[in-house]
């Protein structure tokens, strides 16, 4: 089965090469494409110099637009499975097999790699605030879609061909992960979660702070509520 890793990267000059080398080493059978989302640092140079398969967005689109580009690429090139994979080194490529397994077997259309399912397996449990935020979003999705998604903001997920096509045509840009999950659930696709462990960022800086998280929480809750009453 043709499998593609979609790696969005914005200002990841410190991480991107290591991330790609790790994939080359551990999973040489899997294709990947890096989406350079108008980085202002040397990300593009690094991608070109090392001959890494990449798409260079001519303007910054934000994570949603970048990831959708990956889905469009996957759709055009007839991939069977697409996996979202962060370019900052948080995700561990050895979990890719675990994530694609339910999709490959046809047990699910979408499989989310969840940080919180199994406490012992993850060294990265993140802060109290983050967990609280995740629980609130999870609660809202549960009310709207009658399905428990433990980690709706996880950016580590695998989808099958049908959903690649769906995402290529329509992908939310504001709060892509939770919103697209709601969309998929509303279309009665099957979503499962598998526990994964994630690492702390190894280089660069996370773009999230407390005010942004509160702002994010409020807007994301509203977006999910509005999405859930929209017709599919």
């Amino acid at each position: 089965m043709k499998t593609l890793l979609i790696i969005p990267a914005y200002n990841e000059e410190e991480n991107i090469l290591r991330v790609c080398k790790e994939i080359d080493k551990k999973r040489p059978d899997i294709d990947y494409v890096v989406i350079n989302d108008g980085s202002k640092d040397k990300t593009l140079e690094i991608l070109e110099k090392n001959n890494i398969n990449h798409i260079n967005l001519i303007h910054n689109l934000g994570i949603g637009g970048a990831v959708q580009t990956g889905y469009k690429y996957a759709y055009e090139n007839n991939y069977d499975i697409a996996i979202q994979y962060d370019g900052d080194g948080q995700h561990d490529v050895s979990y890719v097999e675990k994530i694609i397994e339910p999709v490959r077997k046809g047990e699910a259309n979408m499989c989310i790699g969840t940080r919180y399912l199994d406490k012992s397996s993850s060294e990265f449990q993140s802060t109290f605030m983050r967990r609280l935020g995740k629980n609130i979003i999870s609660f809202i999705i549960r009310i709207c879609c009658h399905k428990k998604i433990t980690d709706p903001t996880s950016g580590f997920r695998a989808v099958d061909k049908e959903i690649i096509e769906l995402f290529a045509k329509k992908y939310p840009t504001d709060y892509p992960e939770p919103e697209s999950t709601v969309d998929v659930l509303k279309r009665k696709y099957k979503v499962v979660e598998v526990p994964v462990s994630m690492r702390e960022r190894e280089g660069g800086k996370s773009s999230i702070n407390i005010f942004k998280s509160i702002d994010y929480m409020i807007k994301v809750s509203l977006a999910i509520l509005i999405d859930s009453i929209k017709k599919v």
């Binding site: 990449h54 798409i55 260079n56 967005l57 001519i58 303007h59 689109l61 637009g65 959708q68 580009t69 469009k72 690429y73 055009e76 840009t173």
Partner: protein
């Protein structure tokens, strides 16, 4: 309203319509967008040219003062316009995103094809 003030206001409105026509001629303004502005200019002229029209209408509608009606109307129209603009902006944003994505993917494909061609010619 004193006659002098009325004349001055009509003159200003005429200038406004002139500027409008110029903008349409220079193609700075799409015709479909400009209909609203032209109609607004005509309404202004009519309201100014016919004495006591605004007073009469606002009294009939039950406003205490004519100015209340004018302000009320203006604010409603402004809200409507801003709302419309927000929708337009969202639409344009969506198109823009799609264009950036498609163009970037195309650029990648073109580069790949060029590289392949070069390789072929090199051999």
């Amino acid at each position: 309203m004193p006659i002098i003030l009325r004349i001055v206001l009509i003159a200003i409105t005429l200038v406004y319509i002139l500027i409008l026509i110029k903008a349409i001629n220079k193609k700075n303004l799409q015709i479909s967008f400009s209909v609203f502005w032209i109609v607004s200019g005509i309404i202004l002229i009519v309201a100014l040219a016919i004495p006591n029209l605004v007073e009469f209408v606002s009294h009939k509608l039950g406003f205490i003062a004519p100015s209340n009606m004018v302000f009320c109307l203006t604010i409603f129209i402004a809200f409507y316009l801003i709302f419309n603009m927000t929708i337009k902006l969202a639409e344009e944003n969506k198109k823009n995103t799609a264009i950036i994505q498609e163009l970037s993917i195309l650029k990648k494909r073109v580069k790949k094809l060029e590289d392949e061609k070069e390789e072929k010619n090199g051999k």
